[in-house]
């Protein structure tokens, strides 16, 4: 029976809702049938073009995804302790959250850092902070992800310097630095300088790590923040890949061969509540990126075409009300991520709408992944959802709609122009507002928040940050600046400025500078002075 025949036979009929749509407000059909399937070549085989079924042939039968819980708070010692706690409980990689001053390129002793040191992540201003953060953690054995963007060059230089001190050669240091500035302007919104020079520094880092740290991912092209800012699944996919196109263009423009650096590009997606939409989005991401790399950039190596991704469950989907329910949401989202074929996963803790996660909450989140990996059996069959009429149809639909967005951005003159005109930002704001109105009306349900509320709730214990820690961190930075060789530090800072001005790669002088004691804030000051400061256009 064809879909049309089936629909004619069973419809019209009375349904329980007037309209069935995903969390992104994408309408779904009541049923999908064999005639919804794309040609077999569109689905393909795992590990082969167009990679719909996964980047590797044998997927989780060879290697499970990395369980990588994003962690960071307080002083470097506080976070070091949390890292060791996670590693001792079976976590297989590290992921570092920095505080807002570090993310915006201000040292802990800067007036703008007041009240924010160690609050939303760990405070790192100096090489000594970085050494404390990774104290006793062998950087040749553990891979680390670091979520930092506009100040990423200084942070990466410090990480490399710590590896060198541990006697680990750069060729053996593995990990990822987020370093995706385009999505900062679109969604996460931590910046120093305008888009053009920001992208140039990203390209400097891609070039430097390709040459010197071949196991390092110099950029993690991120949809997570775009989605958390309120985008739809299609927008998340489209704007992320458009950002990816922006970086590839910047690297190709400076004469790099696409097959040299493309294998080191990595991606980061959100995984929200709507199960099939999310699985389809991750599959569409791989297929669309493979096409873009082959058709648009002429990439030839299989490694350049295969999109590898980290995923995180959706913070925005969690509720402050009845927080235990969040464990269930996270489980469903993590399952979608696994069935979507991710290489690495963070599961959110139940208390994240209240505070940074407590040790107990993080443990449940990690255990959720371990239960899915080792009890549920879902990792035993490679891409078990392939061929599902619904999943394949949604994969096609999401890909098609994402292509339309990317074409629109191409017409505008590329992603930097689109960002300068506020196009992705406004599209996301619209979607966020639409969702909020639907939530307010009760059309979109969040259990415990706008349906099935309870009047009195028992609070759960949350993590508290020691208010003394801020002063201690600020004092340390001041002492550090006093103790270093001032003239050497000044000379090294000047070299960074010269590279910024001349167009030479900024990474070598930044590496020298951090070893001479120059801080994250001071390197960021050089960017502010040479490239200017970006200001929020404050579009509503």
């Amino acid at each position: 029976m064809t879909k049309r025949e089936w629909l004619q036979k069973n419809y019209p009929t009375k349904e329980r809702l007037g309209r069935f749509s995903t969390v992104s407000d994408m309408e779904v059909d009541p049923i999908y049938m064999p005639d919804d399937l794309p040609p077999a070549t569109e689905i393909g085989e795992p590990g082969e073009y167009p990679f719909t079924r996964g980047p590797y042939p044998t997927m989780y039968r060879t290697k499970l995804w990395s369980m990588r819980q994003f962690a960071g708070f307080g002083s470097p010692e506080d976070t070091n302790k949390r890292f060791k706690y996670l590693l001792s409980h079976g976590q297989t990689g590290l992921s570092t959250a920095f505080d807002m001053p570090t993310l915006m390129g201000y040292d802990a002793d800067h007036p703008r850092a007041l009240g924010e040191v160690g609050r939303e992540g760990v405070s790192v201003s100096t090489l000594e902070d970085m050494e404390r953060l990774f104290d006793g953690i062998p950087l040749d054995e553990v891979t680390t992800s670091m979520t930092v963007n506009c100040s990423a060059s200084a942070i990466l230089a410090m990480y490399f310097a710590v590896a060198e001190k541990q006697g680990v050669p750069l060729e053996r240091v593995g990990g990822t630095i987020q370093n995706d500035m385009l999505k900062e302007f679109i969604a996460q919104r931590e910046w120093i300088s305008p888009p053009e020079p920001s992208v140039r520094i990203v390209a400097d880092m891609i070039e430097y790590t390709w040459k010197h740290a071949p196991r390092w991912h110099a950029v993690s092209i991120s949809g997570y923040h775009i989605r958390e800012a309120g985008s739809t699944a299609v927008q998340e996919l489209a704007f992320t890949l458009a950002d990816g196109i922006g970086y590839v263009e910047a690297c190709v423009k400076r004469g790099l061969d696409v097959d040299s650096f493309a294998p080191r590009l990595s991606f980061f997606f959100d995984v929200h509540n709507d199960f099939f939409e999310e699985v389809a989005k991750l599959r569409a991401a791989r297929r669309l990126w493979a096409r873009i790399m082959r058709e648009r950039f002429g990439a030839k190596k299989a490694e350049s075409l295969r999109l590898r991704m980290h995923a995180q469950t959706a913070g925005v989907s969690l509720t402050a009300q009845q927080p235990m329910n969040n464990v269930v949401r996270v489980t469903v989202q993590a399952l979608a991520a696994i069935l979507g074929g991710v290489q690495s996963l963070h599961t959110n803790s139940m208390d994240e709408t209240l505070a940074l996660p407590s040790e107990e909450a993080v443990m449940v989140a990690l255990r959720t992944q371990q239960i899915l990996a080792e009890e549920s059996g879902v990792a035993n069959t490679i891409d078990p959802l392939a061929g599902s009429y619904a999943v394949e149809a949604l994969t096609n639909k999401i890909e098609r709609e994402a292509v339309a967005y990317i074409e629109r951005i191409d017409e505008m003159g590329g992603i930097i122009v689109a960002i300068e005109q506020g196009y992705p930002q406004k599209e996301i704001s619209e979607a966020a507002y639409r969702f909020q109105r639907a939530f307010d009306r009760g059309d979109k349900v969040m259990v415990g928040a706008n349906r099935y509320q309870v009047p009195e709730e028992r609070p759960i214990p949350t993590l508290k940050i020691d208010p003394e820690m801020e002063k201690k961190q600020a004092d340390r930075v001041r002492a550090w600046k006093k103790a270093r060789n001032g003239s050497e530090a000044r000379a090294a800072t000047l070299r960074v400025r010269e590279a910024c001005e001349s167009g030479d790669n900024v990474m070598p002088p930044i590496l020298t500078a951090v070893k001479k004691g120059v801080t994250v804030g001071e390197i960021s000051d050089v960017f502010r002075q040479t490239f200017g400061e970006y200001r929020d256009p404050a579009w509503v």
Partner: protein, 135 residues
Amino acid sequence: MSERPLRILVAKPGLDGHDRGAKIIARALRDAGFEVIYTGLHQTPEMIVESALQEDVDAIGLSILSGAHLTLFPAILDRMKARGLDDVVVFGGGIIPEDDIPKLAELGVHGIFRPGATTEEIVQWVRENVRPHAS
């Protein structure tokens, strides 16, 4: 004489870039008929109070998700006092732990909206708690 529409400053103090909430609130307040000015991100207490003065607002809505509310809210309120903005109502929202709500109330921030609040609740609160100040 008909009452003029309320003027509200929606402000993002501190360094965090989470502006989804602030922008949604700004839009919902505007749709409810108020005049809304949005500061944009990364504002210092001084910048916020200066904007409030220049724009002659009746209320300031602060959005903060960085955990720095117990430092930045008092700094803003102190500065408001120093600049004579005694009749401007302050409300706020974001990732604010339950335990901190009484501390903020003591400072004079009475409307605190946490995750899950609807825009209607906030609009209603503004209607009930903000009056056009004498100018």
